[in-house]
Amino acid sequence: MSGVPVLSVRDGHKRFGAVHALKGVSLDAWRGEVLALLGDNGAGKSTLVRCISGVHALDEGEIRLDGEIAAISTPSLARRAGIETVYQDLALFDNLTPAQNFYCGRELSFPSWLPLGLRFVSNRAMDREAASVIDRLKVKLPKFDAPVALMSGGQRQAIAVARATVFARKLVILDEPTAALGVRESRKVLDLVRQLRDEGNAVILITHNMEHVIELADRAVVLRQGRKVGELKPDRGNQHELVSLIVGAEA
């Protein structure tokens, strides 16, 4: 399968009324690779991500998964196809416990012949599974059965990333996962990202932190004003080139 990208966006367009947010963006993501998605605020990164994860639909263009055209019209279809997204606002439910957050929208439940909403939850199974994932990822939580409202920014971020790792089978998208974190908490999250990649997922990482890009990303795609303006392998040598691509000040 190594010849086919796990995700391939071709000539994607998206308009919101008069705003042309994506103007023909193409992008590939491969298994076992971290792809950095860069761009200034309003460049279209979040819109692109929301199209891939099924929140918005592309107006034009196509999305292929493992080479097949994929109809990702809703978030649950995207998740079923193996795409997990960690949104910038984390999309956590403050009033629910970590385990309840993990499984929200796809609860372990019975009996299976009923529609999901009418089934009974299997709390014990969900607690057990979630706890083992938390342990495997070495995430430290003060309390496993308290609502996440009472947890710190880093812990919440870890929960959101851990949730993605449970279900990711193809692609994990992380939208600025370290934006609100201190140095030590950022380090933890970057370790999680590495782990996701080593488990054979394609990872798309949106970030403004060039250090993290150079450290982690195998490839970087730069968007500006809804267009892809560059794609390169980030390293110390081309850091300046990357930044000027992002801000649009060609040297």
């Binding site: 984390l90 999309a91 403050d94 929200c104 929208g105 999901l116 909403g117 939850v121 706890a131 496993f144």
Partner: protein
């Protein structure tokens, strides 16, 4: 049923933390715990104080009275609680109940079947709730306030128009009036209806995926969409169930009075919202359980009853309930503030 509030929030199930901090009893966490127990504590104090003031209060007959008077508020408040959990509000429950009783009364004019009369009331209540939810969601309204206010007016008008001579209609089949009688155990039969509805709500919210989704939608509506929860249908079904509860309340009320009336359910929306908030559920959505609605409903019943026994003017009762609502909402705001503080100190500790 009152023991429900005592299980908040950390006694839920086998505590297993990958890393357990010593649970330090900072002033913030102590205050939070007090706030969680607050409503039940206040109810207990109220009962002690009132029974000292008027010896009649604790007599079995009077307790039966309180239970009978509280039944309707409790049942409808259980539905209101679900709506408030989703960050919503249902202002139409009182008028919905009035219309349901009138529909039941008219059905009784056509048939003697108790089952049909009850079914008509339940169907009427559910339909109005469904319309509330459907217009709110599919009409893309920003808030359920307006639509439920509109159905309040429509239901009230319909009930008055449909009722024979536009007023109270006497008579109900035996299956319904049975609910107004006292069981051999000494409690009114309507008490068992409350228990039944509470059990139903308990199963819906605690054991079913649907209930988990109700909390999710109230906790973070945007995330609920992103996590693939069918938010629209969760909301519509929530309003429909709130309507069903109003229909059940209609059966109980027309059973107790052996009559149906477009004048029933006046200000019931206030009583039920007050019950939920006084009981300790969050007005901001996502927090609370059926114990809150039940404690709140009993508290309202107790206060009303006590003020009656003490011969306090009925207008003062309204003022008292209003003041208590203000206190309860402020307690909710305080709780959110304290939780933010607890979160900050938690973060400081892990850094």
């Amino acid at each position: 049923m009152l023991a429900e509030t005592a299980r908040e929030p950390d006694a839920t199930s086998g505590a297993r933390g990958s890393q357990t901090h010593a649970q330090s009893a900072s002033p913030v966490t102590v205050a939070l715990r007090l706030l969680n127990f607050g409503p039940l504590l206040i109810l207990a104090i109220l009962i002690v104080v009132i029974s000292l003031l008027t010896p009649n209060f604790l007599k079995p007959v009077n307790i039966g009275n309180i239970l009978a008077q509280t039944a309707v508020i409790a049942i409808v408040a259980l539905g209101q609680q679900l709506v408030i959990l989703t960050r919503g509000i249902d202002l139409s429950v009182g008028a919905n109940l009035a219309l349901a009783t009138v529909i039941g009364g008219l059905t009784y004019r056509v048939t003697d079947s108790g089952a049909l009369v009850i079914l008509a009331m339940l169907a009427s209540g559910t339909l109005v709730g469904f319309i509330n939810g459907a217009v709110f969601v599919f009409g893309r309204l920003p808030h359920p306030f307006i639509i439920t206010l509109a159905t309040l007016s429509i239901c009230k008008g319909l009930a008055l128009e449909l009722a024979i001579n536009h007023t109270t209609m006497r008579g109900m089949p035996e299956a319904v009036t049975l609910l107004g009688e006292t069981s051999p155990l000494g409690v009114p039969n309507s008490f068992f209806v409350v228990l039944g509805v509470a059990l139903l709500v308990f199963v819906l919210t605690k054991s079913m995926v649907w209930g988990r989704w109700v909390y999710a939608v109230g906790g973070n509506p945007k995330a609920a969409v992103e996590m693939g929860i069918p938010v629209k249908w969760v909301l519509v079904s929530t309003y429909a169930i709130a309507g069903l509860c109003a229909g059940i309340g209609a059966v109980v009320l027309s059973g107790r009075t052996a009559a149906t009336s477009p004048l029933y359910g006046n200000l019931l929306e206030l009583d039920t919202i007050a019950a939920v908030i006084i009981g300790g559920a969050s007005f901001l959505g996502g927090r609370g359980h059926l114990g809150h609605a039940l404690v709140g409903a009993v508290m309202i019943g107790v206060i009303r009853n006590a003020l009656n026994l003490l011969n306090v003017d009925v207008f003062y009762q309204m003022i008292a309930i209003g003041l208590i609502i203000v206190l309860a909402v402020e307690a909710d705001v305080l709780r959110n503030h304290l939780e933010a503080r607890a979160r900050a100190s938690q973060a400081a500790r892990t850094q």
